[in-house]
Symmetry: C2
Subunit: 186 residues, 2 copies
Amino acid sequence: MALEHAILVSLLEKPGSGYELARRFERSIGYFWTATHQQIYRVLKRMEGDGWIDVREVPQQGRPDKKEYSVAALGRAALSGWLHEPIEPESVRHDLAVKIRGAAFDDPAALIREVERHHRAHSDRLAHYLAGEERDFTAPGAPGTPGDAGRELQHVVLRGGIAYERMTIAWLDDVLATLHRLRREH
Amino acid sequence: MALEHAILVSLLEKPGSGYELARRFERSIGYFWTATHQQIYRVLKRMEGDGWIDVREVPQQGRPDKKEYSVAALGRAALSGWLHEPIEPESVRHDLAVKIRGAAFDDPAALIREVERHHRAHSDRLAHYLAGEERDFTAPGAPGTPGDAGRELQHVVLRGGIAYERMTIAWLDDVLATLHRLRREH
DNA sequence: CTTGTCTATGAAACGAGTTGCATAGCAGGA
DNA sequence: TCCTGCTATGCAACTCGTTTCATAGACAAG
């Protein structure tokens, strides 16, 4: 399980409430890890019970109060321990690939619209990543300026997301060309 | 859930036992969908109960008997239905990306060995894919010869796997360069 | 004739993730 | 005033996936 570790990283980058974490998981952290608010609230409860994080009630105006979580010493230690453990290279899950192979037993041309939909979704995500890179990682100083480590590491992760989307879009072009070719050949 | 659909596709490509399916999920199907023999046996049971697949006891010599499954009409219909339903573009889960961002709060240089390990694993997988492509998709006839649709679709999925591994390896090179740079800057 | 390995199937328990539902404060507009 | 929508938190039920353990036939090596 890495959700608790993803939460620790996010809280170290900036303390926040369960609700705020859920929104981060729709954005930056969500580029490489997803979680619903249900999971997040449950795991926060457990982590609080284990002494990994501290809570602070924060009264707010114009909106309901919130509980702001921050990482405690035990949480930092847990994260450090996990960072030094080896993990297995991830196993992939591509519904779309299952569909493509399955299309051989149905109508391949019927998949074209679906693949185009995915193409648009990935193009949108790429545009979103590139906008984020432009916004957050266009150095105001000279090139080669040593920034802090966290910024560099966030950037290299974002570059991974960008590379992933570019690769996926190119592959979906390949898939579309293949489906069109198969349709021409009946 | 798409495990049942992945199994249907695999059984349509070639009928087989739970054990054989488990081995396929370590190879070709496993390139884009993973499953253990436990999951497979359980789902096969359910699919048999739902009338999606048929069983046939096959006595064997020199090894235990097996149950060979093949897709029934109901299963084919279920697959077809799923193929025509839209699916969401996959959400990603990259433990390694969590670790990289987490390394900002620990020792980034300690990650180098881990990243190198992943680099080797992905290089091995790429070599494996390329060998499979060479073996199965090097056309014995003239280039442009229209093969059957199933073969074409299997190939485009494999090309996706190859593109994914190449992209990942290039990104891990980027990550390693970043980690080394951070180490030089203390 | 015991031990190890490969084929082949399965039960049981647990942990992770999803879905649906519920509550509540506060704001703005019909 | 009521309805909608956003912030904010949570329970309960369920499904999916992982881990551990168990069984059993066949063969080969020692």
